[in-house]
Amino acid sequence: MSEAIANQPLGNASAPGTTSSLLQVDSLRTVFRQGRREVKAVDGVSFSVARGETLAIVGESGSGKSVTAMSLLRLIPSPPGEIIDGDVFFDGRNLLDMTEDELRDIRGNEIAMIFQEPMTSLNPVLTVRQQLAEPMRVHHKVKEEDIEARCLDLLRQVRIPDPETRLDAYPHQFSGGMRQRVMIAMALACEPRLLIADEPTTALDVTVQAQILELLKDLTRQHGSSMILITHDLGVVARYADRINVMYAGRVVESGTALEIFEQPRHPYTLGLINSMPRLDASEKARLIPIEGQPPDLGNLPPGCPFSPRCPFAVDQCRREDPPLEPYQGQHLKACWVNVDE
């Protein structure tokens, strides 16, 4: 196993202060089958998450961000979905080789997930108390008589005012932001070592978005948990992520620290994303530059680099050969044949 880590490009050996990463994903492939068609939703993704680190996965809709997250916990509905290749090592154990029972012990206990839609991710017929207590009951983490105290403590941690009154309320009596706080409290109930937040703020108001992200950041820091933050909002990423993976058409096209990605984007797609983002420091007359074209059909990818049809820098090689994800500078990786220099 040590050899496998050493061989793959995102090795953590050079990451300072960590002996080994908490999560190690190697060439993960997930496909969805529709009759004869095979849609490659995740196509050979490798990355790692160090202890206490926040990794952001950025990309547009359909780039495979959520499917990657779901594949980690094997929550892909099967059929039609199937994880056909790869390894997911969590603390040295391969999640993809585990039995369903072993995996159930990990889910919600060591790895917890927060979903995109706070309005529908709480069960409408159960009280907040019942739902908050559920992960603790499932994993027998907390004694039955201590559950109430723990629930109140969790609600306080996610800064819900007047938790004693709220505990017996139903989800429909909460606003979207409050529901997302309850979801976060549920996710933290068993003090997981890894938190996967799948677009946790997409459905919320802008002011609430910032509060929720601050909360997530604070709580993961307090507990020393790692976080995978999935988003299509680059603005979110800049502030809250330590490292960023940019995904396109089911693969990672660029990976680096937040500073590297924003200051020196080295993949044309990343560059396009940053240019299409409104900035406060730009002049009033500056126009946003969109990325032309549509994301490719994942069931019928173009030859060579999947971004080549939309890429303004594309050369002949791009249309023939698929570029591998290779180091550009230290831990800054890119999958592109062309050297993009601003």
């Binding site: 929550l75 919600g108 529908t120 709480l122 017929v125 429909h172």
Partner: protein, 332 residues
């Protein structure tokens, strides 16, 4: 003159009774009944009929101690009178006593058969809908096959195999309604299982059984309650129909359907009360159950608990600091 009337008005306002909700306090059962009466008067009326039916069934021997089969040949086919409130039949049996004991029989058969049918519907519907795939395919084809046969044919065959009797009727009606009802439960499960909270429960490590019982079942309770009440009424009718055809509970048991057919039809012109009374009893029972069922479904849905949400909204308003209140007037 105006100054003299004002104090009187103030005192009357002060002595008026506090609103209903305050007087009922926090008692959940009383509060529920209060809301039922206030928000769903027809449902409350239906509930009263159901309670009456239940009490009649339970205390049948107290209300009509002479029993349903006390023959009195002298008083044959008497019209309703002070002595015989609802008249007598061709054997001189008191029709009131027979209706009261018939209520007991109806209650037993209806609740037993409906409970059986709901359990069958829930088990088939939830497993078939949740697991989907080949299991769903296979079980739904069995249900299709079962539903291809007309109900009456199944009933006639089953009764001729098992013979007539109370438990046979319960078993057959339970199975019959249970299998067809599984369709309704299944279709609700199909939509419920798409919800993210089911996915969230999986991601939390909940076992399949836990997801079915804790997350799917409570969310399909509304259709199950409706199914229960409509089936309850339908079972009473079906049992009457079976007895009418002579396939149900054999005489002298006082089944309302049997009374309609055996005595009611034969003496329809000499003694019309023999047909009218059990018919009216059936109608009232079915009507009451349906009304109560509809109201129950609406009231049990937590999203419709109006009083609760009002209280929380008030709490939020109180907590909010004054700076967040709209300050339009001050600004201008």
């Amino acid at each position: 003159m105006t100054t003299e009337t004002t104090p009187a008005a103030v005192t009357t306002r002060a002595t008026t009774t506090p609103p209903l909700r305050e007087r009922l306090g926090d008692n959940k059962v009383l509060g529920f009944i209060g809301r039922l009466i206030k928000q769903r008067p027809m449902g409350a009326f239906g509930a009263a009929i159901c309670i009456l039916l239940l009490l009649t069934g339970i205390f049948a021997d107290v209300i009509a101690p002479e029993g349903y089969n006390h023959i009195n040949p002298i008083d044959r086919l008497k019209p309703p009178s002070a002595e015989y409130w609802l008249g007598t039949d061709q054997l001189g049996r008191d029709l009131f006593a027979r209706i009261v004991h018939g209520a007991q029989l109806s209650v037993i058969v209806a609740f037993a058969a409906t409970t059986l049918s709901i359990v069958i519907s829930a088990v088939i519907g939830i497993t078939s809908g949740y697991f989907g795939g080949r299991f769903d395919m296979a079980s739904q084809r069995v249900v299709d096959g079962w539903m291809c046969f007309p109900d009456l044919i199944i009933l006639i065959v089953a009764v001729s195999v098992l013979g007539p009797g109370t438990w046979q009727v319960i078993l057959i009606l339970g199975l019959l309604f249970g299998i067809s009802g599984s369709r309704i439960v299944r279709s609700s499960v199909l939509s419920v299982k798409q919800n993210i909270y089911i996915h969230a429960a999986q991601s939390m490590g909940a076992s399949t059984l836990r997801i079915l019982v804790m997350h799917i079942l409570p969310n399909v309770m509304a259709p199950i309650i409706v199914l229960f009440t409509t089936r309850l009424a339908a079972v009473i009718l079906a049992e009457s129909g079976l007895s009418f055809l002579g396939l149900g509970i054999p005489p002298p048991a006082p089944s309302w359907g049997g009374m309609l057919s055996l005595d009611g039809r034969s003496y329809m012109f000499q003694a019309p009360w023999l047909a009218i009374v059990p018919g009216v009893a059936l109608t009232i029972a079915v009507f009451g159950i349906n009304m109560f069922g509809d109201a129950l479904r609406d009231m049990l849905d937590p999203r419709m608990k109006g009083a609760g949400s009002g209280r929380y909204v008030a709490a939020v308003r109180r907590d909010r600091p004054s700076s967040m209140r709209p300050a339009g007037g001050k600004a201008q």
